[in-house]
């Protein structure tokens, strides 16, 4: 049975037939389906449900929605974690929650001892102390005190988030009266419409309003509009969805928390609309007086929502404190419900108070101010100060405050729209829009239903016509009008005692005194005040309080609030889950990955796979039974040196380049000459960037006159493609060159080693593969093992190599055939680690090792690749300029480290005499050489070529390793084997 002492007998839109049990701070309660955690707590009379951030003052629920500053809860169990405003947590069976930031409970919070020291803790106090001996000593305890809830933990089961795009004509944010009307008109004009609203149910303010539209209760009107919208396939209507980011070109980020598709936990929409209508309503602000944070003090609009939506009145004796007309509707509601109202305190003069007071039979304290709220852990009474200074104390346990309404302009402002200060509203309103958007209703400062509706109709009609839609004939529904909205700003109640705490930012415990102190200390702009006091930096982002900060700064320096200005509105304003931003991009798909047709085979063989450039998954090495990684690498390398190996070279970048000017283009790209290259032959080339740094290297084959097949290193294929297209499309526009990436059209299995030719013969090949008929650096078309192939004789291993290129559809079969036919020859698959060993033995350069963004071809000893005649080749000029300074260069050398068999870490610096001083080079690669049976290394060393034979010192931190400088080639320096 549900015992809800503060629930009314009737009323509210909760489902009184479904009782929901939940737990809060270890105690069990019940509420109804349709409740929020906040409404259920209030119904149960749990008013003290939080402790404040800094002083650990008792706090209760103040708001009814996302603006809630104080009652933050941490969910337990399957939903563990998070600082959830209790007002946004939908009640469900078994929900478990606890207050954040207090221990053991809000009622008995040990940290409340802080209250004794409040005097020591003004804004910025920590800048002034904790310096001795150092901050790090104090930090842990300060940290533990901060932070509110615990972060969500791994006990949460995997939840699927999704992101998707939406393209349409009109996107309406807010499904209050204005938003619904806007969506209705837009949809009737034939537009594709999306309407999003952050509440579970549509209606906005209508849900707590007694007004009528077309003679019907407003909520019925809202339901009818929704029914029409839902029937239209061009309309997407999202509830429980927050629009939180306004990007360029009308792109809005929306997080939908309860999608219809059950496999989707939350959905992030990226919605791009021709027109955005911001019908985001207004946010009520609180008033600044002593103890304005006591449990029992609530926003007037929140009290109204609890009453109408949930049938809860969270007090027995209510008092209202306002500076404007809107709170009177609460008085009317409570009076009609026959509830005790102790009175209404209005800071405005009696003359300023208009028709809103008509019909009220309660004490009206006009031109009075509420001096202070009283109570320990709950509100017990208030002191009212009359214009003559006399004080009256009145008992009450519920204080509804209204400081007026601020149009919810954050999205408008994120869209870079400018704000203007409206004196009548004492608030900032949208001024000049910078994108194709319009604000309507309360968001545009129209704080009365009839006005808001009229404003919406005319604004939306104009927008639709501008956007070439034909808005339907539409007559404005008739609304019962409430009195005109009227307000007198009241930035704080005067005459507080020193030490009285009047909060401008409830969540971050920022008081009026803090603002005064900040200003005295020179922090007199709103941005400085924000950063010195932290006002507005909490989870609520100062929704109800920021305007009071601005008003009070303005007052203190005798300026107008618009001279002070606002702080910057930033997304999201209402926090959203990171998951809804990332969506489906997680796990395997966090980064793209690429496979060759051989990838699966490699995995099946137990290869150690890792990413090796351009997102390709490649085998690092193939572990062997009873051996470690080095053993495996040695075995693979020995196979290549003494028998035969094969590797999957498919990821190498490949480009088909042709057209009238193809030869000239190749000439421009590479530093060396290609003009004399014969058809059917390939040549190694180096490409530079304009900076004169090595961009890439690779072999380019000439297939026919003006027809080339270029290969690039795996990791730089995309960079080279961009570079080539840039040159062609921008600098060489009149040239006729066509580039087609064919990386994935060709797979290659490279058979290498002294027995490579035997294996190829055994496979069956349709051409003569003898060295004369098919020399090094040649390419031939042939049938291999019954399959058409392109065979290239290039070698990155230093051994005879046949790169057998086939279409991917044949690749796996070809690979298996090679393994099978090669078995008697001792063929083994070779991974990247072994390729590394083999190329180091040969002194072949590798991008990312020897080429570390500073080396040029001369440094690498490749003077021959810098054509004497081609000064126009890309990057050439910069190389010449850089070298003209005569500054010593780091040059590629071989190194034989004296380590007795241990590898020197790659990257280790070489220092003069092994001193702990600036380096004179570094080890770029170091491997165990299977042919030399010793550790060998490559390195870049200042003036290295002149120092061959010298002993230099490598430093791995404390360790100094001597090494002898050699030529950078440890095997077959003349290249007889690879040509063989």
């Amino acid at each position: 049975m549900t015992h809800n002492p503060f629930r009314q007998k009737t009323g509210g839109r909760i489902d009184r037939n479904s009782c929901v049990e939940f737990e809060f701070n270890g105690k069990r309660y019940s509420g109804y389906k349709g409740d929020t955690l906040a409404s259920a707590l209030l119904a149960n009379g749990v008013f003290l449900n939080a402790r404040s951030f800094k002083y650990h003052r008792p706090r209760g629920i103040m708001g009814a929605s996302v603006e809630e500053p104080s009652c933050l809860v941490e969910l337990l169990g399957a939903d563990a974690g998070g600082n959830h405003a209790a007002t946004t947590v939908q009640l469900r069976q078994g929900l478990k929650a606890k207050s954040v930031n207090c221990w053991p409970s809000p009622n008995f919070d040990l940290m409340s001892i802080n209250q004794l020291f409040t005097r020591l803790l003004p804004a910025g106090f920590y800048y002034k102390t904790f310096m001795w001996p150092n901050w790090h000593l104090f930090e842990p305890s300060i940290r533990r005190a901060a932070g509110l809830a615990a972060a969500p933990g791994d006990q949460i089961p995997y939840q699927h988030f999704e992101t998707r795009y939406w393209h349409g004509d009109v996107l309406v944010v807010g499904a209050g009266s204005s938003g619904l009307l806007a969506a209705l008109i837009a949809s009737r004009s034939g537009a594709r419409v999306m309407i999003v609203d952050d509440h579970p149910h549509p209606g906005g303010c209508l849900r707590s309003s007694q007004s009528k539209i077309d003679g019907r209760p407003v909520i019925e009107w809202a339901e009818a509009v929704c029914a029409e919208l839902d029937a239209n396939p061009e309309v997407t209507r999202l509830q429980d969805a927050t629009a939180w980011g306004y990007r360029e070109d009308n792109l809005l980020m929306v997080t939908e928390r309860s999608p219809a598709e059950t496999h989707v936990f939350q959905r992030g929409w990226k919605a791009r609309a021709g027109r955005v209508i911001l019908a985001t309503g207004a946010i009520e602000r609180n008033l600044v007086f002593a103890n304005n944070d006591l449990p029992g003090v609530m926003l007037a609009s929140a009290v109204q929502i609890y009453y109408h939506e949930f049938g809860v009145i969270p007090g027995r004796q209510a008092m209202i404190f306002t500076n404007n007309s809107s709170a009177y509707s609460l008085a009317h509601d409570l009076q009609a419900a026959g509830k005790m109202i102790a009175g209404i305190i209005d800071s405005r003069s009696f003359e300023e108070i208009g028709a809103e007071k008509d019909g009220l039979e309660i004490p009206l304290y006009a031109a009075n101010q509420l001096k202070a709220a009283h109570g320990g852990k709950h509100l017990r009474a208030v002191s009212i100060r009359a214009a003559d200074g006399s004080i009256k104390r009145v008992d009450c346990d519920l204080l509804a405050v209204s400081g007026g309404w601020n149009p919810a302009v954050h999205l408008f402002s994120q869209a870079r729209g400018t704000l203007a200060y409206d004196d009548a509203l004492a608030s900032f309103v949208p001024d000049k829009a910078m994108q194709r958007l319009a604000c309507v209703g309360a968001a545009a400062g129209k704080m009365n239903l009839a006005l808001a509706m009229a404003n919406t109709l005319s604004t939306v009609t104009t927008c639709l016509s501008e956007d070439n839609f034909k808005p339907p004939a539409f007559s404005l529904p008739s609304c019962t009008t409430s009195p005109d909205y009227h307000l007198q700003p009241l930035w704080h109640v005067d005459g507080m005692k020193p030490g009285d705490k009047a909060f401008v930012d409830i969540q971050n415990d920022v008081t009026l005194d803090d603002i005064g102190l900040a200003m005295r200390e020179g922090f007199d702009t709103v941005e400085h005040v924000k950063r010195y006091t932290t006002a507005g930096m909490g989870i609520d982002q100062g929704k109800i309080g920021n305007i009071n900060v601005i008003g009070n700064i303005a007052m203190a320096c005798n300026k107008r609030p618009d001279e002070i200005g606002t702080t910057t509105f930033r997304s999201p304003f209402t926090p959203v889950d990171f998951g809804s931003i990332a969506g489906q991009r997680n796990g395997a798909t966090v980064l793209p990955f690429r496979h060759t047709p051989i990838t699966q085979w490699n995995k099946d063989q137990g290869a150690v796979m890792y990413e090796a450039g351009a997102r390709w998954q490649r085998p690092g090495y193939f572990p062997i039974v009873g051996g470690n990684m080095q053993d495996a690498i040695n075995a693979e390398a020995e196979a290549v040196r003494y028998a035969v190996g094969v590797y999957d070279g498919s990821p190498l970048g490949k480009f088909d380049i042709s057209g009238r000017d193809a030869a000239a283009f190749i000439d421009l790209l590479y530093t060396n000459d290609f003009a004399d290259l014969e058809i059917g032959m390939g040549r190694y080339g180096i490409m530079l960037s304009d900076d004169g740094m090595i961009l890439d290297d690779g072999v380019t084959f000439k297939l026919a006159e003006n027809h080339y097949l270029m290969s690039t290193s795996t990791g730089f294929a995309d960079v080279v493609f961009r570079h080539m297209e840039y040159l062609l499309q921008i600098e060489c526009e009149s040239w006729q060159v066509w580039i087609t990436p064919v990386t994935s059209q060709w797979c290659n299995a490279t058979i290498c080693g002294p027995k490579a030719r035997d294996v190829l013969e055994a496979l069956g090949v349709s051409i003569d593969i003898g060295n004369d008929a098919f020399p090094f650096m040649a390419m031939r078309e042939a049938i291999v093992a019954g399959t058409p192939a392109r065979i290239c004789r290039v070698s990155f291993t230093g051994e005879v190599s046949f790169e057998i290129n086939v279409w991917p559809r044949h690749a796996e079969a070809m690979w298996r055939r090679i393994m099978e036919i090669g078995a008697p020859f001792g063929i083994v698959p070779v991974g990247s680690e072994t390729s590394h060993v083999l190329r180091v033995e040969k002194g072949f350069l590798s991008l990312g090792h020897e080429v570390d963004e500073t080396a040029d071809p001369y440094d690498l000893g490749m003077d021959w690749i810098m054509s004497r005649t081609k000064t126009h080749a890309i990057g050439r000029r910069s190389v010449d300029i850089r070298r003209s300074s005569g500054k010593p260069r780091r040059e590629l050398v071989g190194l034989i480290p004296k380590t007795g068999g241990e590898l020197v870490p790659e990257g280790a610096p070489v220092t003069p005499n092994g001193d702990r001083a600036a380096s004179e080079g570094f080890v770029s690669a170091c491997v165990w050489s299977v042919v030399n049976k010793q550790i060998i290394a490559l390195g870049l060393l200042t003036n290295g070529r002149a120092r061959i034979g010298e002993t230099i010192s490598i430093r791995d931190r404390e360790r100094v390793i001597e090494a002898v400088v050699t030529k950078p080639c440890f095997y077959d320096p003349k290249g007889k084997r690879l040509r063989g």
Binding site: R247, R722, E725, Y726, Q729, T871, R877, I881
Partner: protein, 84 residues
């Protein structure tokens, strides 16, 4: 996130493109001085206002094209449009 006007594809989402930087003056001929070359190489235009730049429709049609983009408002104009 912008939408960009690809001359071939029309308006497309920014994520399909690569911004390849501000338009450079024509590549200097080989007879310029070193310092002219260095200037061309290292000094970009950096206006608070419209910058003419090259975008590559890398995930779309592959076209490189030129637009003017305001470096504060991120508004886009065609290269021949008045930059005022």
């Amino acid at each position: 996130m912008l939408t960009l006007p690809c001359p071939f594809c029309g308006q497309r989402d920014e994520t399909e493109f690569l911004n390849t930087g501000p338009t450079k003056p024509a590549r200097p001929s080989s007879d310029v001085t070193d310092s002219e070359w260095i200037n061309w190489l290292t000094v970009p235009v950096n206006p608070v206002g419209y910058v003419e730049e090259k975008w590559w429709h890398v995930k779309g049609c592959g076209k490189y094209f030129t637009i003017k983009r305001h470096t504060v408002t991120h508004q886009i104009k065609m290269p021949d449009e008045d930059s005022a």
